[in-house]
């Protein structure tokens, strides 16, 4: 019998590439959870810190203090912000059977399920690349992909995420990210 070392904790794993804002969006989601009275851990996996290299980040959210200090091996939620990573990493690795897979892609949830033979939980797709280019004019997919994850999991209120983002990026950058987040919430496909 597998032992559950993360009782009461929602665990996230992010996939992205160095420079795409995985660390930042992970922290934004963490800070939003903090604002809603949770305990959190938000940490990246540091390796070769090079732009473009695949990177991972981890997030834990719990109502109680979190004492486990290790990487996340059996995430409840996996978020992949870069569509070009889908053949490089296996985002479903370790993902709980009832977990949520959130992917920035033009594929439908059904297509993603078939690709990874993932039948449980939820699959959420969002074309965050197009949203980012339309709204921000630059390939910052992290915030819209995160927005789709929040919409699917309801782990925090989207308003709290926006609040955290506006605090971190006051002014135009924050406002544009807010538009991108709201657009992603509407366009996310859950299946």
């Amino acid at each position: 019998m597998a032992l559950d070392f993360a009782k009461g904790i929602t665990e996230f794993r992010w996939h992205g590439r160095g420079g795409q804002g995985v660390v930042t969006s992970n922290q934004m989601l963490g800070k939003a959870a903090l604002k809603e009275g949770n305990y959190i851990q938000a940490f990246p996996e540091f390796g070769p810190e090079r732009t473009g290299a695949p990177v991972r980040a981890f997030l834990r959210i719990s109502k109680d203090p979190i004492q486990i200090y290790a990487q996340v091996y059996a995430p409840d939620v996996v978020i992949c912000i870069d569509p070009t990573l889908l053949d490089v990493v296996n985002p479903t690795e370790g993902l709980k059977a009832d977990g949520t897979l959130v992917i920035n892609t033009t594929m439908t949830p059904e297509e993603v399920r078939d690709k990874y033979d993932f039948r449980g939980g939820k699959v959420v797709t969002v074309d965050a690349s197009t949203i980012a280019m339309e709204v921000l004019g630059r390939p910052f997919y992290n915030m819209p992909t995160m927005a789709a994850a929040v919409e699917a999991t309801k782990v925090v209120k989207i308003e709290t995420v926006i609040e955290a983002v506006l605090e971190r990026y006051p002014g135009k950058v924050g406002e544009l990210n807010k538009v991108a987040i709201e657009k992603a919430v509407k366009e996310a496909k859950i299946g």
Binding site: L3, D4, F5, K7, Q27, G30, K31, L34, N38, Y39, I40, Q41, A42, F43, P44, F46, P65, I66, Q67, I68, Y69, A70, Q71, Y73
Partner: protein, 401 residues
């Protein structure tokens, strides 16, 4: 003793902070006079954040950007000698380069606070966490406190000044956090108001300091006739740390409701096997204990906070009833019988007529992740060794072999 009061909840600010950021904010609030440092991963954020506070005029500290860690600690000794409240930060190779001056800081009785994001030593070059750096400096004369969480790092940094600057102590102190695992991990931290910390710490009152109007000489020569006596003084001073630590923590607890102790026991009362470790693996070990307890395993955790001075009596008292103690440590002392933490534990138990078996597991070198399963493996092995009545002096866990 200053009179501190309970701080109302609404005066606390809750922030999401990495271990490094929490320490930087604590240093700012402690209103240090001088910070001399040289950047090194994974400590970098401490000094970077602190420099921002200085540049923004949030704190009046004189920052001395030196050309090496040897100079950083030297500048700290100089500033501390004048009577300033002084801090610095480092890790790994940086601590190694400070080596000579670590001993000077301790022997000259300079209450410097050195925050360390524990990191492996070269070679091969590695930026990730283990405890080889500060364990290596365990005989330097510094007090060593190890923290599990960002909150504890923040709290301990504040208390560190009050312990170090106490006139019965006057010793430098290392506040250690696990590099990356905690230094770059955003956690919930409850911050105290500036005023409360000001009141708690007061202004440093130097005992003897360099002053052109009343000249004295520090750090002179002492040979066969007196050197030994000065070491005796230093030894007496570090022995007084536990009492002062308790006083300072009691006061801090009155103010915040939080305290950690020189060591923390978790479900050890009826435990047959006690897992003994510190820093972040101790947190993981507590989670493992919760899970194992559901399977009716009689297991507990002793989380050590203070490694120097080593609280031998208290540790022995807390573990002596167990059948076995499984030590987990992120350091290999090459060529040694076992490793630094287990050596201390075994020596602490030596005088007992009936003592628990001690197993020693080297884990997580160079930042190798320590998942709960690694701790479980150590526990299961210890159970097996108990059955056999014999255990190896130490072994490594989590390495491909």
């Amino acid at each position: 003793m200053t009179s501190v009061e309970k701080i109302p909840k609404d005066q606390m600010v809750v922030e999401g902070l990495t271990g490094d950021a929490a320490i930087a904010l604590a240093l700012k609030q402690c209103d240090i006079d001088v910070l001399a440092a040289y950047p090194i991963t994974p400590q970098t954020i401490i000094v970077e954040d602190f420099q921002k506070f200085v540049a923004n005029g949030e704190v009046k500290t004189k920052v001395i950007p030196v050309e090496s860690e040897h100079s950083a600690m030297s500048a700290c000794v100089g500033a501390s000698a004048v009577g300033a409240r002084v801090a610095t930060a480092t890790a790994s190779a940086g601590l190694a380069l400070m080596w000579e001056i670590l001993y000077c800081a301790a022997s000259m009785r300079m209450p410097i606070v050195l925050t360390v994001a524990n990191r492996a030593l070269s070679a091969p070059i590695n930026i990730h966490n283990d405890w080889s750096d500060t364990y290596g400096a365990r005989d330097s004369g510094f007090i060593q406190l190890y923290c599990q969480s960002s909150q504890e790092a923040y709290d301990t940094t504040i208390m560190a000044f009050k312990i170090a600057e106490n006139k019965d102590i006057l010793l430098p102190i290392m506040v250690c956090i696990d590099g990356f695992i905690l230094s770059h991990n955003v956690e919930r931290v409850e911050m105290l108001p500036d005023q409360a910390i000001k009141k708690f710490l007061g202004v440093r009152q130097p005992f003897q300091n360099l002053d052109p109007d009343n000249p004295i000489t520090m750090g002179p020569l002492a040979l066969t006739d007196y050197y030994f006596e000065f070491k005796e003084q230093q030894d007496e001073a570090i022995k007084r740390v536990p009492d002062v630590f308790k006083q300072v923590e009691a006061e801090f607890e009155r103010m915040t409701g939080r305290s950690y102790g020189m060591l923390e026991t978790y479900k050890t009362e009826d435990a047959e096997i006690i897992l003994l470790t510190h820093s972040t693996p101790a947190g993981t070990a507590k989670v493992v204990v919760d899970v194992l307890r559901e399977r009716d395993e009689k297991v507990g955790v002793l989380r050590l906070k203070m490694f120097r001075p080593f609280p031998s009596k208290e540790v022995a008292e807390a573990i002596k009833h167990a059948k076995a103690v499984a030590v987990f440590e992120k350091c290999r002392s090459f060529g040694s019988t076992c490793n630094p933490l287990a050596l201390e534990v075994m020596a602490s138990l030596y005088d007992l007529k009936e003592k628990p078996m001690v197993t020693d597991f080297v884990i997580g070198l160079g930042g190798r992740d320590v998942p709960p399963t690694t701790i479980v493996e150590g526990y299961e092995k210890t159970k097996e060794y108990l059955k056999q009545g014999k255990a190896p002096l130490y072994e490594t866990l989590g390495v491909r072999k």
